[in-house]
């Protein structure tokens, strides 16, 4: 603090508290809605204090979904989301770390060519190649499979660049010492490089976990079978009519379940999260 101005400090706190409240307001209403019966919610105005249906509503969605919209159980959706949220970061880290290792620690004729090939993928987000990618997945028979949900999303230029960037900062002396001691490239990779990359991996994992959990367009395209829905898709499928026709209490319970895991990851692993966010953008 440069100087003491009580009024400005007061104002700062007021703005921040207002900001926090506005940001949290939708979450609060969602939670309240998930603890009431449908009859209570469709009343105008809806109650703003918790009701007594919390256990009822959550048990209903976890076991049997909604009654008017999708009937798929949210428990199986949560499993599908978890598979996506774990397979994507793990797959991404695995293929990126080895390709970055090859590009940084080897000289081979096609090196720059591969580097640019990976780089160009930055310019081809899923959204611009919706239809043809869907066809590729269909031709490969990967619709409604975990492989179809995850494999196409694990190639990533940002992760490869992040590891490349990090490997560049690893002192040459380490590789030299390893070579003098007679270690081959893979030995050096396992025993020296990977242990050093732990923090980078943790940061990347947190970011990619959220990325995988929150995927929408991709699972929307390639899952038609209810048993393969992810939680985010499930919520969308529960909304069938407009307004009062939906079972909002159940939809909101599902929304809470869909938000909880990634929100917890962000708040509990805040250090890795911030590091990952800032570094993947470099």
């Amino acid at each position: 603090m440069v100087e003491n101005r009580p009024f400005v400090t007061f104002l700062s706190h007021a703005v921040l508290i207002l900001g926090v409240l506005i940001v949290a307001f939708p979450l609060y209403v969602t939670f309240i809605a998930s603890t009431h019966t449908l009859e209570a919610i469709v009343q105008v105005p809806m109650p703003l204090l918790p009701g007594d249906q919390l256990i009822e509503n959550y048990r209903q969605v976890l076991t049997a979904g909604t009654t008017t919209g999708s009937r798929a159980s949210v428990a199986s959706m949560l499993i599908n989301s978890t598979v996506m949220a774990l397979a994507i970061p793990l797959g991404k880290i695995a293929i990126s770390v080895i390709s970055a290792f090859a590009i940084v620690y080897f000289r081979f004729p096609a090196r720059m060519f591969f580097f640019w090939m990976i780089f160009v993928t930055l310019m081809l987000p899923v959204e611009v190649r919706i239809i043809p990618t869907f066809k590729v997945i269909a031709d490969l028979g990967m619709l409604n499979t975990y492989a179809g949900l995850t494999v196409p999303l694990i190639a990533s230029a940002t992760a490869t660049f992040l590891f490349r960037q990090f490997f560049m900062t690893v002192p040459d002396e380490l590789a030299e010492a390893a070579r003098v001691d007679g270690a081959g490239p893979m030995r050096f990779f396992w025993d020296v490089l990977l242990p050093l990359s732990k923090t980078t991996m943790a940061a990347l994992f947190v970011i990619q976990f959220i990325y995988g959990w929150n995927q929408y367009l991709w699972p929307l395209l390639i899952t038609t079978d209810e048993s393969m829905y992810t939680t985010v898709i499930g919520i969308k499928r529960m909304i069938v009519g407009s307004d009062a026709a939906n079972e909002w209490n159940l939809i909101m319970a599902t929304a809470i379940l869909a938000m909880l895991p990634p929100a917890l990851v962000v708040m509990l692993m805040q250090r890795w999260f911030v590091k990952g966010l800032v570094e993947t953008e470099k």
Binding site: V2, E3, S12, H13, V15, L16, G19, V20, V23, V29, T30, A33, P45, M46, I95, S96, I98, S99, A102, I103, Y105, F108, M117, V120, L122, L124, E127, V128, R129, I130, I131, F134, V136, P152, A155, T160, D172, E176, R179, P185, N214, Y216, L217, L220, L221, V232, K236, S242, D243, A244, W248, I251, A258, M259, P262, A263, V266, Q270, V274, L277
Partner: protein
């Protein structure tokens, strides 16, 4: 920058890049090439026959009033999302940088919306603003505002902007906070000694020094509004009412998946690719600027 110490092997590096390159070719290059190829084709209504039509799909697009309208919608939408997303988070970050007590708690309470999926964010706000049962709708009615985004185009736009901004604030906030914390205290102290008010210090010192961050966030927010808000729109307005919230990405999806117009949708994909390339170049310009700065 190159490594001095390198390993030698005739086959190992190829084996190491193989998985990534294989996935890149199968799921990126091949579909992208197909999108380009389809964009020059016209398919009959049953998908049985295709015909090479050159640039006809593109010509048709630029004559199509709906497509040009979608461009305008996207421009308005991304401008609103970027402006409000940046302005609100800059305000919050500046305040969070000032306070000593509770800074960590504020930060934790402001960053969690990053974890919310765009589609879920859309559902949350659609519920708050639901025309007949929404709690915000109820309050607005008390003020004499008749709120129904299902039929009112401007209100629909406002809804998707609010939901998109809400989700993006946490991201912008973190980058602004990091930017603010890297500004040397001595500069601000010097200005304070010269008698500059906090307001003046912000506009003449802090804001100009933050400009690389602001520019970077501008590009990121535009990319976000162009592509990642698909979930927000699909979960709320689905492009409606009419075409009031049909941004370009939504139109690609709608024309390709719902209307099964392969050629037209692919031509739109190709145009989007050019937009992404332009935005990526803009982002890299930023990195060069940062190095000089």
């Amino acid at each position: 920058m190159e490594k001095r110490v390198v390993f030698r092997s005739a086959w190992l590096p190829y084996a190491l890049v193989a998985p990534q390159i294989a996935i890149t070719i199968v799921f990126f290059f091949w579909p992208a090439a197909q999108a380009v190829w389809y964009s020059f084709q016209l398919q009959d209504a049953f998908g049985l026959k295709t015909q090479f039509v050159g640039l006809q799909n593109f010509a048709a697009l630029f004559k199509d009033g709906n497509y040009l309208e979608s461009f305008k919608t996207t421009a308005l939408f991304s401008a609103l999302v970027a402006f409000f997303g940046i302005a609100i988070s800059l305000l919050l970050a500046t305040m969070a940088d000032r306070v000593l007590r509770g800074a960590m708690a504020y930060k934790t309470l402001l960053i969690w919306p990053y974890a919310v999926a765009p589609a879920v964010a859309g559902v949350l706000w659609a519920f708050l603003f639901a025309p007949s049962i929404g709690i915000v709708t109820y309050v607005l009615r008390g003020f004499g505002v008749d709120w129904n985004w299902i039929i009112d185009a401007d209100q629909a736009m406002l809804l998707v902007v609010i939901a998109s901004v809400w989700k993006q604030i946490s991201y912008n906030f973190l980058f602004f906070l990091a930017g603010l914390q890297s500004i040397p205290r001595s500069l601000i102290e010097a200005a304070a000694i010269d008698g500059a008010s906090p307001f003046r210090r912000f506009w003449t010192i802090v804001f100009p020094l933050l400009s690389p961050t602001t520019f970077f966030l501008l590009v990121v927010n535009i990319v976000y509004a162009f592509f990642e808000t698909f979930g927000v729109i699909d979960a709320t307005t689905q492009g409606g009412p009419g075409q009031a919230t049909q941004i370009l990405v939504y139109k690609v999806y709608h024309d390709g998946v719902k209307a099964a117009d392969l050629g037209g949708s692919s031509a739109q994909s190709v145009i989007l690719m050019f937009i992404v390339i332009a935005l990526t170049v803009a982002q890299f310009r930023f990195i060069e600027r940062k190095v000089q700065y």
